[in-house]
């Protein structure tokens, strides 16, 4: 039963982290290049746009959920399972979400990069 709870937490972490990253990416795409904005309108406008973005707050909220579900998962399961599984699955979930929700062109180079980074993270965190 404990294993089922641990995997439920891993799944929730992956979904919440993916949702957080996608919402954040979506919000930043709508706000525009922060460097250009700062140069053209000053830091006040940048702060105003960031603070008035509801999507950004939603992204941060989901990231907070991912953080706490990860902590709960770590209290139930082994670090050697929870750490690598949630990190590697989050990379894959984000690539899939970027392709289908953000409509990014995730070409073979980016898929390969995601897979290599996934394997690297698994090796690093499970040692």
């Amino acid at each position: 039963m404990r294993t089922a709870y641990t995997w439920a937490c891993i799944l929730m972490t992956v979904v919440a982290a993916g949702a957080g990253d996608v919402l954040l990416a979506f919000a930043m795409r709508r706000i525009g290049d922060l460097g250009e904005l700062r140069r053209q309108h000053g830091p006040g406008v940048v702060a105003g746009r960031l603070l008035s973005s509801g999507t950004l707050y939603a992204g941060v909220f989901f990231m907070a959920i991912a953080f706490f579900t990860n902590l709960i998962g770590l209290s139930w399961g082994d670090l050697s399972i929870v750490g690598p599984a949630s990190a590697a699955l989050t990379f894959i979930a984000n690539a899939v979400a970027a392709k289908f929700l953000l409509r990014e062109n995730v070409d073979h180079r980016r898929w390969l990069a995601t897979l290599f980074v996934c394997c690297g993270v698994l090796l690093l965190t499970s040692s």
């Binding site: 795409r29 460097g35 990379f91 690539a95 409509r103 690297g120 690093l124």
Partner: protein, 141 residues
């Protein structure tokens, strides 16, 4: 990609690695936290390493948002994975941890993965032409 954009990606990697290393150092020097007294975690907030770690992670968050404002999510995430390599180097030289063969193999995989994504465009043409699903849903309301 311009020098400024590379600097943003590198600052993201730097602040993420330094933040995690400072938090790890702070948590190691603090007394262990009992499961039944989780609120004791607040006592470590006075630790200078933990404070510096939190500020570094806030700087990482701003760099991350800046990077997402000019690059795709599917570019930024694999590119930022190089922070795992920095963390391994910090754990060797600062925290004096032992790093075995498996970890070095992991580092090699990450470096190859980052190499793949770094050679491609930061923002794909298709992403700007097609409407993201989230935007389409918002417009329908």
């Amino acid at each position: 990609m311009t020098v400024r954009k590379w600097a943003v990606i590198l600052s993201m990697v730097f602040f993420s690695s330094v933040g995690d290393a400072f938090l790890a150092r702070g948590m190691k020097s603090a007394p262990s936290i009992d499961v039944h007294h989780v609120m004791d975690v607040l006592s470590v907030m006075a630790n200078p390493f933990v404070i510096f770690g939190i500020f570094s992670l806030l700087a990482f968050m701003y760099s991350y948002m800046t990077a997402l404002s000019f690059a795709d999510l599917s570019y930024v995430l694999p590119a930022s994975a190089i922070s795992y390599v920095f963390m391994v180097l910090l754990s060797i030289f600062w925290l004096h941890e032992h790093v075995g063969r498996q970890r070095w193999l992991g580092v090699a995989f990450i470096v190859v993965g980052v190499g793949f994504v770094a050679r491609g465009p930061v923002r794909t043409e298709n992403a700007s032409k097609k409407e993201p699903v989230a935007e389409t849903v918002e417009e329908r309301r």
